[in-house]
Structure formats: C-alpha cells, structure tokens
Symmetry: C2
Subunit: 429 residues, 2 copies
C-alpha cells in the first residue's frame, strides 16, 4: 500500500517519466534569467534518456547566492506565495520561492514520506520543531495535514506542555530533532511517567544528521520506531527522501527529483554503490526549477530492491560533506568511511583521529584508535592482532593500508563542539 | 471590489443565509456529546429569523474546559487535521479542532480580511508573529497564501534579519504585534535606515488589544497604515472581524458567524450601539461548531453603513472584558466608557482613577483625573469649569453624574504592569 501508486512504478516507466519531466523542466528553466544563459547552448532534444542529464551544467550554492534573490524564478513575483531563506546574516543568503502548485506538490511528497514509514490518517502528529523560515517546520506541517493526520503545531521548547499535549491527545507520531529526543525522554521520566505508557509509535527524526547508533539509542530509550529523512531547502525542504518501514536507506522520490552521485573532484558519476556527492534536479517544481544542484552532501545509492515494494532508489544516510573528502595517492577517501568501518568493530572505543603525513615523496595515513578497556590487555600478541585486523578492515574499505596506532580510551583529546577527526600535516614543514 | 461578493450581500439575503446556516449548524452540533444534551429540548424549526438565536442556550469557556478534549466534536477524530490549544499549563486548557474544510474556510475568511484592508496578490507579506499553537501565526499565514501574497514566515524575534528580509524582498505588508511595532521602528532607524525608505505599506496589528492612540502612533512612526483585527481561537483564531480601508470598526463576517451583544448580567441583547459582551456563533464550521459563545469581550455594534460598501456589521475595538463591568445604582458601566470619554477631551492627561464608594445607603462614583500642565492653571473658575465639563461629558456617557476631582499630571501612582483603573471600596468597613 502506497500513498501514491507512482512509488511502485516500473523502473522503465519511471525513467520515461523522468525524461519527459526533465525536458519540461529544462524548457521551463529557460524562463529564468540564470538558466536562460546557462542553458543557451543546450538543445533539449539532446535529452533522450535519464542519464543524458550528465550533459547539463551543474548549479552550485554560489550560483544561488549570486542570483539572489530572483535569478532562478521562471515567472513573475505575483505568482509566488511562499519564500524560505537561509539565515545569511553574514554573507548573501539563499532564497527559495514557491508557487501555490509548488506548495501542493511539496505537501504531497511529504505526505508520501510519512505514509511510507507507517503514518496514517488516523494518527495524531505533534510537530516539535520550530516553524518560521526553517523549512522543516512548515514542510512537515503541510505534509501531515495533507496526509490527514491530526496535526498539533506545538513548535520547539516547553517540554512540560509538550508532554501534556502528547498525553491528552494520544499523540502517535512525533517530529523531533534527534539531539532533543534523548533529553525529552529523560524529562518524561522525570515528570513521573513511564515511557511505555506514552502513546507514541513513530518518530520522524531527520532534521539534523545523526548516526545509526543515535537512532538505535532513541528507539530503545523512547520505545519508538525512528525514521530518517533527507531534504534541503534548495529542493523544497524535507520530503526529498525518506525511510520506509525497512529502515534501510531513504527512498528518493524519483518522479519529483533526479538524483545523481558524483565524484566531487571530477564531476563524473561514481560506480553504483560508491560514496560521492549527491546532485539533485527538480522535476516538478514550476516556479524555481533547479538543475543538477551540487548538494555537497556525501552518500551512496543502496544497491538492490527494497522489500517494501517501492521502486524508487534509496540513498544511504549522509556520510559527511563533500568538502571533507581527502585524496591520498590518487584515491578519494571520506572520513565517514573510516568512521563507519571503525565503529562496526566491537573492540573500538569512542574516539579516533586521522593524520595525513608526508614521508619522503609519499603520503601516508595514520589512524589513532581508542580501544575499549576490556580489549586493551597486556598481551602484546593480542594487541598486534587487533592492530592488523583494524588495518585490514580499513584497507578493504578505503583501498589503502593505513598505519594503525592503538591507544587507551580517553587518551585522544576531546574537542569542544564539533570533533576534529582529520589533521592534514602534509604541507607542514 | 471584494474578495468574495458575499461581503456586500443585501442584508435581507444575508439574514436568510444566516438562518439557513444556523439551522444546519444546530443539527450538525447535535452530533457532538455536549450539544446533543444541551440542545435536546430544542426544536430546530423554532429558528425562523436570525434573532431567534436568542432562544438557544449560551456556551461558556467553562463548558469548553469541562468538555475537554472531545466533547464538542461532531465527527470522528480521523476527520480532523489540526488542533490548536490554549496553554493551560495551569488548569484545563481549551482545545479547538479543525477538519480540512474548516481550515479552508478559515483561510478564506482570513484572506478576505487582508483584502479588505488593501492587501493584494502582488503584495509580499512578512509574518512577524510566532507560529505554533497560537492561532495568530498559522491563521495569518494560511490566509496570506490563500490571497496569493508572497508570504515570508519570518516568525518572532531576530530584528536584524527581519529588516534584511523586508528590504531584500520589498515587503509591503507586515503582521506585527502592536507593542513590538514602535520598538521595531526604532531598531530600523538604529540600523541606519530611513523609515520613509522602507517598502512597507500596511500593518496588520490585531494580535493584542491596543488603543486608537497606539494605532495613531504606529502609523505616524512607521509611515504605514495599521489595521485592527478581531479573533479568538474558539472562533478559529484571527479572521473573525477586520477593519476595511475606512478604519472605523471591524466588519464581522456575518455569513460565517452570528454576532450578538448582550448585557453580561442578564444575557439580554443590549440596544443597538450600546456596549455589551460579544456572543459568537459559528455558521460554517463543520468539525466543532460553537453556539452562542460568551467571549467575555466588550464591544458595541457601530451604527450605520460603511462607506466601503460591505454590508456586514462592524464592531468597535474591544473595550475590555465583561468581568470589568460595574453596576452602580442599577446602571451597567464599563471602565472603557469612562476612558474613551476622558481621553477624547484635550485637557485630560495620561492617567485617571475610578473609585466606587458607599455614602450612606447610596453608591457613588469618584473619578480622579489628571489634567495636562497647560490646563492646570491657578484660575479656580477655569478649573471648576473644566470639572463640570468632565462630569457632564461622563454623565452623557454613563447616565450618572460622578464626583470629579482634578489633579496634576503624574500625581496618580502608576501601577507596574497592567494599570489599575477601578477601586471598589463599597464593601470596605
Ligand atoms: Zn522501502
Ligand atoms: Zn467597511
């Protein structure tokens, strides 16, 4: 059962639909000052298959900034009814404009997302995110109403009141920021309620990046199923990709977007299943179409079919920013690859540090890894075995053998704020 | 030109429409637990004219609290898509539920309001009010999109960013809280901009009660036209009544509501033009109809026709709460009547104080009035003349002659927070 039958459309038909919509999008985009120039030399008839999209130029965040505020609009301002903007108190912001039809399309996509993870008309959804210029608030709100859920626009903050609303109105779905979820669960208990007695069933937790471990912890502590989401305001906001009940990757709505994954240095498509930069094209946005937008977000397509029956391809959770990519001996490496590899090993502790150094004419990677106390034994042979195992696992992931150094837990200095995971010493004297 | 032709409907036809919708509302309301009891003995056929509404029982805020959360709903929870609730962290809150159709109707009414005060599709509206459970945020937002204005959901706070958005996007309409407007105008100037250079034209300032003087000051300081609004969440939220370009009272949308003004003690209708408690009945709300709701808000119908051509009756700005009513020698008196009378006299200063005292078996009203410095002269004859003039003016308003005492400016102690205007000493020993 799908919110919209298009979600399970045959792949060939879906690609045909993409081609048709891409051509329409290109011709529509030509009505904007930016794309009329950008696409001047391009013949729409050269789009014959979906992969022909690679013939089109990229659009970057800098393009959006340079075109601020109206350079990408395909019609007169009168026809727009909504504007979202990035904060841009420093530097030029990015503004996204929506026609009424764009809002309807967005709400439909968002409703589909929530349906895919089990939300139904009979559910009550409490939107615990802030509203305003942030697309997460109104995006989820409109989608929830479109799906027909009873929608409580609680907004952020006021934990006590949130708890009362959830209990009074038998709230079954929460839209909650991952980093707030565990704090909230604790507050519920402090208020004297059993987590098991809370009526919730589903948490939508996509508003900020989080790890698989964080999701597992939220699910365990809150007795809830938590579903990841992907979106960015340049592509409307939330509602671009969403997890289904399988919780194994997020279906990109390919009737509304063409997703590509490229090598951020060369701009070429990566091989199927490889990590790269996500590039997105809108297929159904009439007021402000965007073609081949460089999201700077790193992810990969998850190979194979999904058990839910949806045919739209899935992307993996975001594995960092394209700007994080390292090149070592000609190989592209992302810190997130190393993190995922390390964190999948039971012996590895909380922290690690990657150092890139130059030895003679050759670059080397050193990885310092904290080992859990129970594995940090005085048996040299065992430690050397672990060291080798980590190096081998990393090599199979990044295709290079790094120098692995084991250390005790808490021996790597913790950063205030965002952790520093990579130090590049290659250009130091 | 009207957003909806119903706004200029012939009175007789409008009343016919009201009768028809009132009957439908009564029959629909019977589907709710509360009204099925409340209206058990009432025969819908007894409604023959709009004034027959007086045969129906009142609904009070306590009723809504006692029926929390579902007692007034006419259909199953599945059919509702929105819930707003009063804060109620202390005591039982009031919850209002909306079906999709109710949201559409509300957005239409709100769009009409904004159109009436000159907003058009080509305008850009910045919503500077908070969103969330407060109906003012989403209410204005949906109405603005419905009208087709480019809507910027800026939310509250962040003055610097608000100014940038207004300038970058040529914002012509602001939804701004009256008490914030003057502060904001000052911040604009501090940021180095001339008020005359700001693109705004219209301010929607209904979210909190304010005086005619406050409006005048906002208009002058901001170089803007400011329009008053009336609404309450029990009647959807904003969009119940709104000023037209005439700025002389707020048209109540009488195809969607029946408004009555009653004596809060007796429950009887007051004479046309007299102040009393506003009582409201929904005519188009399907999910949660409310019949004869005691708003506790004091106002009056403004007699006569409006030059704008709209036939729907106008209410005056809210003149306080019904609970403020005083009874003196059997006459109902509202502090706001006295305030309006005093403030219309050029000699009267900032402050006044009403004291009710018992002299023997008879009650008396004393009114202490600050006189502006330039009128507080040492000419006893002039002062006595002023005293008499004030007493006479008050008598023509409240039908009683109070004892008037003149005093110098700043001689009446100012209260912290809400001013205390009435002291009832009648039951003091
Ligand atoms: Zn799936
Ligand atoms: Zn008028």
């Amino acid at each position: 059962m799908y919110f919209d039958p298009v979600e399970a459309m045959d792949r060939a038909a879906l690609e045909e639909l993409q081609v048709e919509r891409l051509k329409k999008t290109i011709d529509n985009a030509r009505n904007s000052p930016f794309y009329s120039e950008q696409l001047a030399g391009f013949d729409t008839a050269d789009i014959k298959t979906a992969s022909d999209i690679a013939k089109l130029p990229f659009t970057t965040k800098d393009d959006l900034r340079n075109q601020y505020p109206h350079g990408l609009l395909t019609r007169s301002l009168d026809e727009f009814v909504r504007l979202h903007a990035s904060s841009g108190t420093t530097g030029t912001p990015v503004a996204v404009f929506y026609t009424q039809q764009d809002l309807n399309t967005w709400a439909d996509l968002m409703a589909r997302c929530m349906y895919a993870c089990g939300c139904r008309e009979s559910d009550t959804m409490q939107n615990m995110s802030g509203y305003g210029l942030f697309t997460g608030g109104l995006g989820i709100h409109y989608g929830s109403e479109r799906l027909g859920m009873l929608t409580i626009p609680a907004g952020a903050g006021n934990t006590k009141r949130q708890i009362k609303l959830i209990r009074d109105h038998n709230v079954s779905v929460l839209h909650i920021i991952p980093s707030f979820a565990l704090y909230f669960a604790q507050k519920v208990q402090e208020a004297g309620y059993e987590i098991e007695d809370m009526p919730w069933r589903i948490a939508l937790i996509g508003a900020e990046p989080h790890t698989e471990e964080a999701r597992a912890k939220i699910e365990e502590m809150m007795h809830i199923k938590a579903y990841n989401s992907y979106g960015l305001s340049e592509m409307n906001g939330p509602g671009v990709a969403f997890e289904c009940l399988q919780q194994n990757g997020m279906h990109v709505w390919e009737d509304a977007y063409i997703a590509e994954i490229i090598n951020p240095k060369t701009g070429e498509h990566v091989a199927e299943g490889e990590i790269g930069e996500l590039v997105m094209t809108t297929l159904t946005r009439e007021g402000m179409p965007i073609i081949r937008y460089r999201t700077r977000d790193l992810t990969r397509f998850i190979p194979g079919d999904c058990a839910c029956g949806r045919t739209h391809r899935r992307i993996d959770r975001i594995a960092g920013r394209a700007d994080d990519m390292m090149i070592l001996k000609g190989v592209n490496i992302y810190p997130m690859q190393i993190e995922q590899c390390l964190m999948s090993m039971p012996e590895v502790g909380q922290n690690y540090l990657i150092e890139l150094v130059r030895e003679g004419v050759s670059d080397q990677m050193k990885v310092k890894v904290e080992v859990k106390d129970e594995f940090f034994v005085e048996d040299m042979r065992a430690l050397q075995g672990l060291q080798k195992k980590i190096a081998k696992n990393l090599c199979s992931e990044i295709l290079l053998t790094p120098h692995v150094e084991l250390c005790q837990s808490d021996s790597i200095p913790k950063a205030e704020g965002k952790a520093v995971r990579v130090i590049d010493r290659r250009n130091e004297e």
